[in-house]
C-alpha cells in the first residue's frame, strides 16, 4: 500500500540520515580524545650536588615529567616529595620561615612528612626516598 511504502521510505531516509550524522560525529569525537602516550617510568633521578642546596631550603627538580620538591631540612637531613598539590594540581614550595610546604594557589600547607597541616588539600604529598651518593643527591620512588 502507498501509505506503507511512504512509511518505509521515511524510515529508510531517516535512518540513513541519522547513520550518516553518527558516522561524522563518531570519528570526530574519537579524534578529539587525545591518544595515550606512554611515559618512560622514572624511579630515580639525580637532584644535583649537595652543596647546591643550603640547609633549611628547598628546590623543585624534575622527576620524569613531573616536578618534585627536594628539601634540605638540616646538614644531613633531606626530604623529597611530589611537588604536585593534592588539591588542584598546583606546584608547591618550601617555606623556610615556617618549615612547612606551602601551595600558593589555595593556601594549603603540609608538614615535612608530607601530611596536610591546613587548607583544602585532601591527601598527603607522595614522599620519595633521598640518598646522598658522594656529593650527589639522588631521589627515588619508595618501594
Amino acid at each position: 500500500m502507498p501509505q506503507e511504502r511512504r512509511t518505509l521510505i521515511r524510515w529508510l531516509l531517516g535512518g540513513g540520515f541519522t547513520a550518516s550524522i553518527a558516522s561524522f560525529i563518531y570519528p570526530a569525537v574519537r579524534f578529539m580524545n587525545p591518544p595515550d602516550i606512554p611515559e618512560a617510568s622514572v624511579n630515580e633521578v639525580s637532584a644535583g650536588k649537595v652543596q647546591d642546596l643550603k640547609p633549611n631550603a628547598g628546590k623543585i627538580v624534575r622527576f620524569g615529567s613531573r616536578p618534585a620538591l627536594l628539601v634540605r631540612v638540616a646538614d644531613d637531613q633531606w626530604r623529597a616529595f611530589s611537588a604536585v598539590c593534592t588539591h588542584l594540581n598546583c606546584t608547591v614550595q618550601y617555606r623556610d620561615s615556617t618549615h612547612q610546604i606551602w601551595c600558593a594557589c589555595h593556601n594549603g600547607t603540609y608538614d615535612l612528612n608530607g601530611h596536610v597541616v591546613s587548607g583544602p588539600p585532601p591527601a598527603a604529598l607522595e614522599e620519595y626516598a633521598v640518598r646522598v651518593r658522594g656529593d650527589e643527591v639522588v631521589i627515588s620512588r619508595k618501594a
Partner: protein, 358 residues
Amino acid sequence: MPGTGNPQSVKGWFEERLGLASARELLAHKTVPVHSATMWYYFGGITLFLFVIQVLTGMLLLLYYRPSPTEAYESVQFIMTRVQFGWLVRSIHSWSANLMILAAFIHMFSVVFLHAYRRPRELTWLSGIALLGLALAFGFSGYLLPWNTISYFATKVGTDMAAAVPVVGQSLARFLRGGNDVGGATLTRFFGFHVAVLPGITTLMLLVHLAMVQKHGMSSPPWIRGSNRPQMKFFPNFFLRELMAWYAALGVLGSLAAIFPWELGEKADPFISAPAGIRPEWYFLAPFYTLKLIPSHVWKIEGELLGLFGFGLLALWWVALPFWASDRAGMARTKLVTGAGVALLAYLATFSALGYWR
C-alpha cells in the same frame, strides 16, 4: 519582487537585489520603551560592541602569534616590543575581554532586576546565559595563550577542577588538556578553542539571541503598566544613543589600554613552584576564594568535590531562573527573583573582593 527604487541608480540596484525596503519597514516600526531604567538597555549592545573589538584585535594578533610552548611567550613578547602598536593591540584585546565580561554581567543583572526574563523570553535568557558561559570560556582559553606562569597555573587548577567531576571527570580533563598534564598539547588545543571552536558557536548563539530580542522586542519592567506607555523609535533615536554608548565604551577601553598596558609576566615553567599571590582573573575570583575556604573534607566528602557540586547546583538554579520565577498559577515571584539577584551579586562581589585582597 521588483524594488521600489530607480533600478538605474546604485541604491535602486541594491534595492532590487536585497529588498532593503522590508528591513527599513521593520526598523521604522521597532520601538524601545522609555522609562527610568531605559539606560540598562544599552549594555547588551555594549557587550556586542566589545565582542566585535575582540574579533578585530584577535585577527590582528593572529598575524604574529605562534601557539607552541617554545614560541608562544616569545611571539607575544615580539608583538609587544617589536611590532608597531603591538602593545596597544594586545592591551586592547585583553582589556576589551575583561570589559566585555563586565558588560555581560551588568546586562545579565539588569535583565534580572528589570524582570525581562519572563514569558515568552525564556529562550532569550537561556541563549544569553549560554553566551555568558562562552565569554567565560573565551577568557579561560585565551588566558593560557601568552604561556606565562600565572596562566599556566590557572589552567592547571581549572582543568583539575574538571577532573573532579564524577564519572566523566578524568576524560573531560584529558580532553581539555590534550593529555594527562597541562603542556604543549593544551596550548594548541586552547588556541583551537579560542580562535575557531568558540567563535563558531558564539556566532550561532549570538544570532539566536538577537533573533529572540528582535522577535519579542524590549521588555518593560512589570511595574510599568498601561497601554499608553512612552516609546522611542529604535531607528534613529535608540540607535544613535547606543552609538554614543559605544563611543563612551571605546573611550574607557582606549584609556585603560593606553594608561595600564596589559602585562606579560614571566614565561611558564612547569618546574617552578606556583608563585605567592597567584590568583585568577577577577571573574573567577569568587569560586577561587570559595575553594580556598572549603576544608579538605566535609564529613566524608572531599572539599573539592563539594565545591564543584555547589557551583554546579548554583549554576543550574540560575540558568533555570525563568522557570521558577513564577508559581504554578503563573503569578510572578518578582520579590523572590530580586532577592536572589541581590544575594548572588553580594556573594560575587564579597568573595571576589576577599579573593583579591586576602
